[in-house]
Subunit: 233 residues, 2 copies
DNA sequence: TGTATACTTCATGTATACAAAATGGGTAGT
DNA sequence: ACTACCCATTTTGTATACATGAAGTATACA
């Protein structure tokens, strides 16, 4: 029942991709990774195939595996698609939720809070990921789940950037997200589908705002601009 | 540039699954399939992994690959999810469509019509599948595409049953579907998103009706019931 | 100097041999 | 007759050797 070396390899690679430790577009050498994880190339290639199947990697014939790209084009689609799928999944999850899943959700939330307390931003992003993955599992919809999983991959990779809360304002946003998680758990537990959808969209709006804040930050104060102005060059 | 043995194997297995030649739940022996396709087990296993990644198979560790199941539970989800995804994809496809894709769509439709003329029901189902897959590609949304692909797998597997048009009524339905395809092509070509969505939902309604007709057929005439009535047993 | 081409090198793809796990059948015990 | 357990057989999993194909480098030629 202990997880095999192959499973460990799979999970580690997945986490490293989610944490941007393996950057989008990075190409993965079979030989070096196989020696690193103590596997031969055959099972390692199978791990790559599985990761590719879930959208973490893409494999080009005769050219090996590369971490799934995150270009501007993809991000446009992300913002367009995420709220639709998140809302649809939330509705189903609220309708379907069983006690064991609510418990799993609470556990994930506990870990999320611990990571927040410890300012462990990598764990924070990963437990947030897990939290939303469980919601996907609650929906028990084999057609929507692969879409949700792909959205979560990119969502986590983006959020990883701003979960390194630096300012007090960032820290408040994370707290707000945590509160929303608790409210969502309650909505799922009481099978309140309408509320679950509403909270999910609120949660999305917060996260989207964080990302936008990162991409289009407030302009720097005038004084900071001084060194770059002038007529050098 | 010629397709490799591995590609041929992949495509053949995919088609066989879509045509129910490989039944849902059937388990696939690695050795026999590898000899059948003239591959060794290593590349065959990679084909299996890829098929599993796209939802055609599921692989259980130490227990091999089985064709994706189609139970009642899954079908319920299918009817629940298909119209949402189909509509969303149709909208995006209409917005995004480029001439080359419209041409690909017309080609698929030509093949569809040929299959209809030849009463080649296997080809009919497969070209219908391809037609809708192209629409998915037109949407160029990497998040929705995996959901759409999974829906199409099961949709094609179901439709395969009733594309063996027996009655004149069946034949008229197929003709109607073909007409809808033409109307949809026009809507995509003119970037008419609203119309594309409307036509897509009509198309879905027709298909859904066909499936329901198959699952809940008209009751047999009274006279047919006679042999089964009575007090035997 | 620029370009084309052959060669070297390295990474990916495939086959095969071996290891480990699961299945099925038979036997012993209750 | 039923159940539990062990062994034989089959099937899946892993390692390694070899084949194939891509990328980069050096050399010859224009």
């Amino acid at each position: 029942m202990a997880p095999s070396k192959k499973d460990l390899c799979f999970r580690d690679l997945r986490n490293r991709i989610l944490q941007l430790d393996l950057a989008p577009g990075a190409d993965l050498d079979e030989t070096s990774f196989s020696t690193h994880y103590g596997l031969s190339r055959t099972p390692l290639r199978e791990v790559f195939q599985k990761l590719a199947g879930e959208g973490y990697l893409s494999i080009e014939p005769n050219r090996g595996a590369v971490v799934a790209a995150m270009d501007l084009y993809t991000m446009r689609r992300f913002f367009q698609t995420a709220p639709i799928i998140y809302a649809a999944v939330a509705r189903l999850a609220a309708e379907q939720a069983i006690p064991a899943q609510i418990k799993a959700l609470k556990d994930a939330q506990t870990h999320f809070m611990s990571a927040r307390a410890a300012s462990d931003n990598a764990a924070l992003a990963l437990w947030n990921h897990r939290f939303h993955e469980i919601i996907g599992e609650m929906a028990t919809n084999p057609y929507l789940l692969p879409s949700l999983r792909r959205l979560l991959i990119d969502h986590t990779r983006m959020s990883h950037i701003f979960y390194r809360a630096k300012t007090a304002e960032d820290s408040i946003r994370v707290l707000r997200a945590a509160q929303q998680h608790d409210e969502m758990i309650e909505a799922f537990a009481t099978h309140n589908a309408e509320l679950a959808v509403e909270l999910t969209l609120d949660h999305w709006a917060l996260s989207r705002g964080e990302i936008e804040k990162y991409v289009w930050p407030d302009p720097l104060p005038e004084t900071y601009m001084q060194p770059f102005s002038g007529d050098s060059q």
